[in-house]
């Protein structure tokens, strides 16, 4: 899933200060799951913005709505009747959702309320960790199902650097050394020989290297 975190309130207030009425739009997908932009967060932010502005002597009307998914145009269409009289839209979706809303409503300023962070998994309640960088050429089959590109601070593809200590990365004890994990897993799988093979230099064209990417399924595309 895509994870995100709310931007500092101060930054958001700067965005909306010029307006009298805004529409705050949540998304019921990834950002709900990672507790950043679901109905509850929309409510909390609406309240917070109103209070912060009220305190500064301004007042603003914040309309709240949460879409099933902000990155699909059909859902975004739902917003049309709510935009009447609205000066600006603030989106609590990931970057994809913000752009989709901005694309649809050309004459309304659209602002992001969140910082989109990474593709990750939930380690436990309230904790999400990065798992994938979308390199476009998955090598998890070689590395025991643990990605060294997303999870090694130096994206080393051939083993742990000299800073690996007790299973932790040199950048901090709260970060696991991806290669220590990979090695443990390879041992469990009896695939230690995979480690001995040298992974060649990666072709980044499948990833960001080749510029913005697109997927087209011929059978579905219309």
């Amino acid at each position: 899933m895509i994870t995100a975190e709310r931007k500092p309130l101060e930054e958001l207030i700067e965005y909306i200060r010029p307006y009298r009425r805004i529409l705050l739009v949540g998304c019921n997908e990834c950002v709900t799951v990672c507790a950043a932009g679901g109905r509850k967060e929309v409510g909390l932010l609406a309240s917070g913005l109103q209070m912060a502005l009220l305190k500064a002597g301004a007042s603003i009307e914040v309309r709240e709505h949460t879409l099933e998914r902000q990155c699909d145009p059909e859902y975004v269409e739902e917003l049309v009747p709510m935009l009447d009289g609205v000066d600006a839209v603030m989106s609590m979706a990931c970057g994809c959702g913000v752009q989709e809303v901005a694309r649809r409503f050309k004459n309304k300023p659209v602002y992001p309320a969140l910082n989109t962070k990474f593709m990750g998994a939930s380690e436990r309640q309230g904790v999400w960790a990065e798992r994938c960088m979308g390199c476009g050429n998955c090598l998890l089959g070689e590395t025991g199902g643990i990605c060294p590109i997303a999870r090694c601070a130096k994206q080393l593809m051939n083993g742990p650097c000299g800073g690996s200590t007790n299973g932790h990365c040199e950048i901090g004890d709260d970060v696991d050394c991806a290669w220590a994990l990979i090695w443990e897993r390879l041992k469990e799988l009896g695939q230690q020989d995979r480690y001995v093979e040298i992974a060649p230099a990666k072709d980044w064209r499948a990833g960001k290297g080749a510029g913005p990417r697109k997927i087209i399924r011929e059978d579905l595309a219309e």
Binding site: V33, R39, K40, Q125
Partner: protein, 1011 residues
């Protein structure tokens, strides 16, 4: 009044009596509960916190009490003694004598005005001791009433006028009556040893020497010092507190019982821990003890926590004296230790005497009237395998009167006594009641979509509310609020007359929502729900504004602020109630069949009890035959033969028409709800799958004998376990006669790092086998190497007997365990004798290890996963509440009995099996299962299936269903609302506490405050 003799008389209103009465009443049996005191509750209501959870028990106990008073099957008779008993089982005639209370219970609202004006005349204190005068017995007292000490009253007229409810009746002369009953449960509880005559302990002379119960009152938030720990002599906070154990127990002092009082070690540990918790390093706590007897479930861990986490100091010594020399501010305790002949003196600020239990003199007299045989301590003698059965058929005992014990065991026996007593009743006819019920309740009006018409009823509760605020003006104000159709002052709203009026107004004025301004919803919500339901409204269209307990009682000195706050609360209640919706109580049809898992003594006992009460029982046993571990035991400590018991149980179980025994049964799956479970198992040699539908489940899966590879066990033929030894004594006494030296080592595989808890049974087993060896071979020298001898209750007398018979008991420490070596066909055992202070080597013909019990790790793990039942760290099933619900498991409809709960003796297992059956019977008596309305509800359209609720629920109830959204079974939901609060999609609402109602309260509160 019920004059039929088809009911049970319960004598004693302590925890045991309440539990017995509640179990019987819930199983729809009629009970008359008699207590001498003016409100029930007994000793436990005096405790501040109870071990091992250190919970304050007030809140866990309180619901039990009010439940007790509500139950229609219980006739509660307080301030009453039993003066005579005649007749036999099935037909007893009992004479009761009631002392005058001088208060009409129907009128008294427990407002406390009389006590406020005339504290000297109103009984309101437990009268424990001049040093611990509590201001209130306890706030949830049942009945909620006071009692007048007329002897002290000098102005009856003034007293009568002080009562706003007109409840004082000076012409109360008490009464006598005769009642008939089929069986009697005798639960008078225990008295505490009075150490006043023991000059050397200083109790009578020194204010700072207190009993453990008095110390408890000093710690208690509702105690005389409001929970401030101070020295009674000078009001200063103490720096050093000492406990002296075994005061009045183990025959140690003049007048002391010969038995162990069983509960005092844990009592002292708890007090020491609570003291350390509050004051940390500012206070030192020391416990002087003989043997640390923490043999209950998980108690050893509690002891270790006290020692290792809280730094409680333990001194194994019996102090000689507690003195306060002239000119010294502190108490001086003199004691000897193992390390030398010289006595040590040490100063303490408070010395707590851990006083044991005894049977009160009047209780002994009453036991005589019941015709009970008594032992030397005055306790009734009981059946060797059933501790609640006395020498008189139809009379049962439970709790401390059976033998000294702690609360969980008391609760177990109370439930056990209930089902035994219920067995003596003739089958009840139930038909009438349901018809009457239906007559009472009219159909509910439809209110959905109707404009809200709120009726507000403001109580003045006499002076309680009316004396502080203008209740009439408040009612007028409420009348101006939106949606309020009727608003009126209702006097004592909870009086019968008022409730009738409210009901009428609801009907006449077409009221569809109700707000009561009065007492706390905690105590009165159920009552008013009943009222509006009778008027044809759904019971959840109600809000209560707590303007007495939380306004007038606490803001009496600020009339204006109180008035404004009362208005706020009423307005908030109105705002909330208009958003309330009718809710259905969740209920399910009850399947009245029972599944018992485990065919040992506990399982068979439970199965037979429930089968006798007419329920179909499936008894699933993993092995090929019934009998369990008890089949391996020959005799009990008291000398009863076990084999006939087991044979009889097996025969009766197999022959019972209502019991189906399924051997070689392996439980494989489980689903359903409490009251309608489905459990799948593979059975027989062919492992056929079958599924059983049942309403309740009793787990009696037992435990396993431990067999750690220590001390040459299984390496040397002269080394055996106690279980093997007792078989040898019985089967091959010739060999036993050849022995010169026998050594027994205690705590093998128990109280260790891997298995920290005590196995409970081994000390008495060692004593039993030592005495048995001496019967066969009087010349044998027997050494018992122990860490603490834990011969609790009456077992202590056998321990003393063994010592007198020459058995040598030598203590070893965990750090220096005995060393053993096989030499020829002997075992050389070397240990350090702390009394002699040197090493001793014994060439033993036989080394016997007390290896105790361990949980069936694999079996329990499997069952715990299938049934979703938590276990303790050592693998036993974990009960719902270790004190008050010791056989109820946290999953409703599940009960535990026997050693699956923790190590215990056969008679303890039997008691627990009876208790589990009794608890099961309370559920089985119902035709439907009422689950209340407070449950979480998921809006599937909003749910993002994020798993947050699944992870947050403390009980693991929500799950993502096949349709891909969270589903919360209202029958399993506990109604805490955590899921609703954390849901990031706001897809969950907790019924009765919906977000819009909470928001409405906020809205209404600030409506005026800010306006």
């Amino acid at each position: 009044m019920n004059t039929s003799n088809n009911r049970v008389l319960v004598i004693g209103g302590g925890m045991a009596g309440i539990r017995t009465a509640l179990d019987l009443a819930e199983a729809e049996k009629n009970v008359i509960l008699v207590d001498r005191a003016y409100s029930i509750g007994g000793l436990m209501t005096q405790l501040d916190r109870t071990f091992p959870t250190n919970n304050c028990d007030l809140c866990t106990l309180a619901p039990n009490l009010s439940e007790g008073s509500r139950q229609e099957h219980i006739e509660l008779v307080t301030m009453t003694t039993v003066t005579d008993v005649k007749g036999t089982k099935g037909d007893f005639t009992v004479q009761l004598e009631t002392a005058p209370r001088f208060i009409n219970l129907d009128k008294c609202t427990a407002c406390g005005e009389c006590h406020k004006k005339f504290p000297e005349w109103v009984r309101f204190t437990p009268g424990l001791d001049h040093r611990a005068p509590t201001c209130m017995r306890y706030p949830q007292a049942t009945p909620q009433a006071f009692s007048i000490d007329m002897a002290k009253c000098t102005d009856v007229k003034a007293l009568m006028e002080s009562c706003p409810a007109g409840a004082i009746n000076p012409d109360d002369f008490g009464s006598r009556r005769e009642v008939k009953c089929a069986s009697i449960v005798f639960v008078p509880g225990g008295a505490l040893f009075d150490p006043s005559h023991l000059d050397y302990l200083g109790y009578a002379a020194q204010a700072d020497v207190v009993t453990s119960l008095e110390y408890e009152r000093i710690l208690s938030a509702s105690g005389p010092t409001m929970g401030r720990l101070i020295r009674p002599s000078n009001g200063q906070q103490p720096k050093k507190v000492a406990w002296i154990q075994c005061v009045g127990s183990r025959g140690l002092q003049k007048g002391a019982g010969q038995y162990c009082s069983s509960a005092c070690c844990m009592f002292a540990l708890k007090e020491a821990i609570v003291t350390k918790e509050r004051f940390g390093d500012d206070i030192e706590t020391t416990i002087f003890y003989m043997d640390m007897r923490t043999m209950g479930k998980d108690y050893e861990r509690y002891f270790l926590r006290a020692r290792d986490e809280f730094g409680v100091r333990f001194v194994r010594s019996r102090p000689h004296s507690v003195l306060r020399p002239a000119g010294v501010d502190n108490l001086v305790v003199t004691y000897g230790t193992d390390s030398g002949p010289v006595n040590v003196t040490e100063e303490f600020d408070i010395v707590v005497l851990s006083t044991g239990f005894r049977v009160a003199d009047d209780v002994r007299v009453l036991a005589g009237k019941l015709g009970l045989d008594l032992n030397s301590g005055g306790f009734p003698t009981t059946d060797g395998f059933n501790p609640v059965v006395t020498s008189v058929p139809g009379v049962y005992v439970a709790g401390v009167i059976e033998a000294p014990k702690d609360i969980p065991e008391t609760m177990v026996q109370a439930s056990a006594a209930a089902i035994m007593a219920a067995g003596d009743l003739a089958p009840a006819e139930k038909v009438e009641k349901t018809e009457a019920d239906q007559e009472l309740l009219p159909p509910e009006f439809g209110v959905v979509g109707e404009e809200p018409r709120v009726g507000v009823f403001i109580c003045d509760c006499g002076e309680n509310i009316g004396g502080v605020i203008d209740a009439g003006a408040l009612a007028d104000y409420a009348g101006t609020l939106p949606h309020v159709a009727v608003s009126r002052l209702q006097g004592h709203g909870c009086s019968r007359e008022s409730m009738r009026q409210i009901q009428q107004i609801i009907v006449d004025e077409k009221i569809n929502r109700v707000v009561i301004g009065g007492c706390s919803p905690r105590t009165h919500e159920a009552k008013f729900q009943e009222v509006i339901r009778k008027a044809g409204l759904n019971r959840y269209l109600l809000e209560i504004a707590n303007i007495r307990d939380q306004v007038t009682w606490v803001h009496a000195n600020r009339a204006e602020g109180a008035t404004e706050k009362a208005k706020d609360l009423v307005r908030m209640a109105v705002g909330s109630v208009v958003r309330s919706q009718p809710l259905a109580d969740h209920s399910l049809p009850m399947n009245k069949d029972v599944l018992v898992v485990g065919g040992g003594v506990a399982g068979m006992t439970a199965a037979l009890q429930l089968a006798d009460h007419g329920h179909k029982v499936y008894l699933a046993e993993r092995s090929a035959a019934l009998g369990g571990q008890a089949a391996k035991i020959h005799r009990t400590l008291e000398g009863d033969e076990v084999a006939p018991l087991v044979r009889d149980l097996v025969a009766r179980t197999e022959a019972h028409a209502n019991i189906q025994v399924i051997t070689r049964a392996l439980i494989v799956d489980h689903s359903g709800l409490p009251g309608m479970f489905k459990t799948g198992m593979q059975t027989g040699r062919q492992m056929f799958y079958r599924q059983i539908e049942h309403g309740v489940t009793i787990l009696a899966t037992g435990a396993l004998p431990n067999r750690p590879a220590q001390y040459l066990l299984d390496e040397c033929s002269q080394v055996s376990t106690q279980l093997e030894l007792q078989a040898l004594i019985a089967e091959n006494p010739e060999t036993v006669r050849t022995w010169d030296n026998v050594v027994m080592i205690q705590c093998v595989g128990s109280r260790t790092a891997d298995n920290p808890n005590c196995s409970r049974i081994c000390c008495q087993t060692a004593v039993k086998n030592a005495l048995r060896i001496l019967e066969v071979n009087p010349e044998a020298r027997i050494f018992v190497l122990y860490r603490d001898m834990r011969t609790y209750g009456f077992q202590e007398e056998y321990y003393q007997k063994a010592r007198q018979a020459g058995v040598i008991f030598a203590r070893y420490s965990a750090e220096a365990p005995p060393q053993v070596k096989a030499v020829g066909n002997m075992v050389e055992v070397t240990f350090n004798d702390p009394v002699l202070g040197r090493e001793i080597t014994v060439n033993a013909d036989r080394l016997c290890l007390s290896t105790g019990l361990v949980a069936d790790e694999d079996g329990n793990d499997e069952l715990a996963m299938i049934f979703k039942i938590p276990r303790t760290a050592d693998g036993y099933f974990l009960e719902d509440h270790v004190k008050l619900r010791p056989v109820d498991l946290p999953v409703p409809g599940f009960f535990v009995a026997g050693t699956a709960h923790g190590p215990k003796l056969i008679r303890e297992s039997v008691a627990q099996a009876l208790a589990a059956s009794s608890r099961a019977l309370t559920m089985l008596a119902r035709d439907t299962i009422d689950l209340g309305a407070r449950a979480a509800r998921v809006d599937r359209d909003r749910c993002a299936a994020c798993l947050v609720c699944v992870r947050a629920c403390p009980f693991g109830i929500p799950y993502i269903n096949a349709d891909g959204y969270s589903e919360i079974d209202p029958a399993k939901c506990h109604g805490c609302g955590v899921c609703a609060s954390v849901c990031p999609a706001k897809a969950i609402q907790l019924m009765q506490f919906e977000d819009d109602r909470i928001m409405a309260k906020l809205e209404e509160l600030f409506e005026r405050s800010i306006a």
